[in-house]
C-alpha cells in the first residue's frame, strides 16, 4: 500500500513539474514578443552563449569529422566503396553529428552556466529584488538567454559542420591517400540543401532546449549552494536527454 502511495506521489510530482515547466515556457515565449526589449542583454548573451562556445564546438567538430572519416573508410573499404567517404562524412556531420555534438557541448557549457547564474540569483533573492523594482524577471533574464541560444546554435552548428568536414578532409588526405581536390569535389557534388538546413533547424531547437532548461532549473532552485549545484546538474542532464530525444523526433519529421 505504501509502495503504491509513493508511486502515486512520484507521478503527481512529476506531472506537477511538467505542468510548471510548460507554464514557465509559455510565459517565456509570449514574453519574447512583448516590450520592453533588452537589446544590450541580448548582445551580452550572444557573446556568452555563442561566441565563447566557438572553440569548444570547433575542436569537437574537428575531431569528430576526423574519426568519422577513419570509420567510414574502413567500412567502405570492405565493399570497395572508398570513393563515397567524402559524401558520407559530409552527410553524417551535417545531418547528425554536427548538431548533436555541438548541442551536447553547448548544453554542458551554457545550460550549466545559465542554471548556476540564475540559481544563485534566486537563492540570494536577486530575482525577487528584480520584481520589486518593477522589472519582469522573465523578460529581463530568460528572454535574452532564450533568444541568444536560438540564434547562436545554428551559427555554431554551421561552424561545426565546416570544421567537421574539414577534419574529415585532413584525415583523408593525410592518412587515407585521398587527393585534396577530388575530396572537395566529391563533397561539393554530394551536398544537398536539405543536408545543411535540417541540421540548422535541429540546432535552433537544441538552442531553445538548452536555454529553457538552464533558465527553468535556475529559477526553481532552492536552498543554498547545494540547491544551485543540483539545479546545474539537472539543467545539463535534462537538456542533454531532451536534445537526443528531440534529435530522433526531428530526424523522423525532416527526412520522412
Amino acid at each position: 500500500m505504501n509502495f503504491l502511495a509513493s508511486i502515486g506521489r512520484m507521478t503527481l510530482d512529476f506531472l506537477r513539474s511538467v505542468g510548471a515547466l510548460f507554464v514557465f515556457l509559455g510565459d517565456a515565449v509570449v514574453s519574447i514578443f512583448l516590450p520592453p526589449f533588452y537589446w544590450s542583454l541580448l548582445g551580452k548573451q550572444l557573446m556568452r552563449i555563442g561566441y565563447f562556445s566557438l572553440p569548444v564546438v570547433g575542436l569537437t567538430g574537428f575531431f569528430t569529422g576526423g574519426a568519422l572519416a577513419l570509420q567510414i573508410y574502413s567500412g567502405a573499404a570492405r565493399y570497395g566503396a572508398e570513393a563515397f567517404v567524402p559524401a558520407v562524412v559530409m552527410i553524417g556531420i551535417c545531418r547528425e553529428l554536427g548538431p548533436v555534438i555541438a548541442g551536447l557541448m553547448v548544453a554542458g557549457r551554457a545550460a550549466a552556466a545559465i542554471a548556476a547564474e540564475l540559481g544563485t540569483m534566486k537563492v540570494t533573492e536577486q530575482i525577487d529584488a528584480l520584481t520589486t523594482l518593477a522589472t519582469n524577471p522573465v523578460k529581463y533574464l530568460v528572454v535574452p538567454r532564450l533568444v541568444a541560444a536560438v540564434i547562436s546554435m545554428p551559427l555554431l552548428v554551421a561552424v561545426a559542420d565546416s570544421v567537421g568536414v574539414f577534419g574529415g578532409y585532413i584525415v583523408s588526405t593525410g592518412t587515407l591517400g585521398f587527393t585534396g581536390s577530388i575530396y572537395i569535389k566529391n563533397t561539393v557534388d554530394a551536398i544537398a540543401f536539405n543536408d545543411v538546413s535540417s541540421g540548422l533547424t535541429k540546432a535552433a531547437v537544441f538552442g531553445f532546449i538548452i536555454a529553457a532548461m538552464g533558465c527553468y532549473h535556475g529559477f526553481h532552485s532552492k536552498g543554498g549552494a547545494q540547491g544551485v549545484g543540483a539545479a546545474t546538474t539537472s539543467a545539463v542532464v535534462t537538456s542533454s536527454i531532451l536534445i537526443l530525444a528531440a534529435n530522433y523526433i526531428l530526424t523522423k519529421l525532416l527526412f520522412e
Partner: protein, 259 residues
C-alpha cells in the same frame, strides 16, 4: 469580501501562510496608515520577512487579503502588478544586490528599468542617494562583491529609496551596522518619512525601533500579539512585549533550544 479601511495605506486581513506542514503566518491583521511608520518586532524565524514578501506578492498568502490604497492586491499580475510595485521600495534582509552590475547601477536600477529615467540622470540620483547612506563616489563603481556586509546593506537601502517610493519596506535596516552608522540610517529613515512616505520596518534593534516608528507591532507564533504607539511600549502590560524588549530568556516566549 470585506471592504478595506478608508485611511489605510496598507492593510492585511487574516493573512495566512504555511510552508508544507509548517504554519508561519496564522491570520495576520495589520494596518499601516498613510504616512505612518510602523515597526514590526518579533523573534527570529517568526515570519516577519515572509509577511513583507506576501504584501509584495513575492509569496502568495494561502488565505486572507491584502489591500494597498484600498485595492486588493494578492491577485494582481502583468502590467497592473508592475504599476503596483512601482509604489514600493524594498530593502531585503540580505541586501540582494545584483552582482553583475556595479553599485551605482544597482541603485539606479529601478529608475532606469522600472521607470524609464535616462541613464545620466539616474546615475546622478544614484550618486546622491549613495552619499545619503554615507558611501562616496569611489564606492559607486565597485561591484557589490567588493563591499563589506554593512556597505552592501547601505547600498540596498539606497536602492530602496532611490525612486522616492510611496511605501518603503525595510527588512532589518540597521543589522550589521556599527552604532554610529545605525544612527545615520535611522535619521535617514526618519527623513524619508518627512516627505509623507509610509514605512514598514522590521528590526531587532530597539533603539532603532523607538527612533523610527510611530507604532510598533509584535509578531509571535504567526499572530500580531500586541500593537500600539511607540511611546506605550514600555507600559504595554503585555508579557510577550516585556520579555522581548528586556531581552529575557525566561517568559512566555519559549525559544526552541535544548540545553
Amino acid at each position: 469580501m470585506a471592504q478595506a479601511t478608508a485611511t489605510a495605506k496598507v492593510e492585511l486581513r487574516g493573512v495566512k501562510k504555511r510552508f508544507g506542514p509548517k504554519v508561519v503566518l496564522d491570520g495576520i491583521d495589520l494596518t499601516i496608515e498613510r504616512g505612518e511608520s510602523l515597526v514590526v518586532i518579533g523573534g527570529s524565524g517568526t515570519g516577519k520577512s515572509v509577511m513583507i514578501k506576501c504584501v509584495l506578492g513575492i509569496l502568495r498568502p494561502d488565505e486572507g487579503e491584502i489591500y494597498v490604497d484600498g485595492e486588493p492586491v494578492t491577485h494582481l499580475h502583468g502590467r497592473k502588478r508592475e504599476a503596483f510595485l512601482r509604489k514600493f521600495g524594498m530593502l531585503f534582509q540580505g541586501a540582494a544586490l545584483f552582482d553583475s552590475l556595479p553599485v551605482w547601477e544597482n541603485v539606479a536600477f529601478g529608475l532606469i528599468q522600472g521607470r524609464g529615467v535616462d541613464r545620466i540622470k539616474a546615475r546622478e540620483i544614484a550618486y546622491q542617494k549613495l552619499a545619503e547612506v554615507g558611501l562616496g563616489p569611489e564606492v559607486a563603481v565597485l561591484s557589490p562583491a567588493e563591499l563589506s556586509g554593512g556597505m552592501q546593506k547601505r547600498v540596498g537601502l539606497a536602492r530602496a529609496i532611490a525612486a522616492d517610493p510611496e511605501i518603503i519596506f525595510f527588512d532589518e535596516p540597521t543589522t550589521g551596522l556599527d552604532p554610529i552608522m545605525s544612527d545615520v540610517i535611522n535619521n535617514l529613515i526618519v527623513a524619508t518619512r518627512a516627505e509623507g512616505t509610509t514605512a514598514l520596518s522590521i528590526t531587532h534593534d530597539l533603539i532603532s525601533a523607538r527612533k523610527i516608528s510611530d507604532r510598533i507591532a509584535m509578531l509571535y507564533k504567526g499572530k500580531i500579539v500586541w500593537h500600539g504607539p511607540t511611546r506605550e511600549i514600555d507600559a504595554s502590560g503585555n508579557a510577550y512585549v516585556d520579555q522581548f524588549i528586556h531581552g529575557r530568556a525566561e517568559g512566555p516566549i519559549q525559544m526552541e533550544v535544548r540545553g
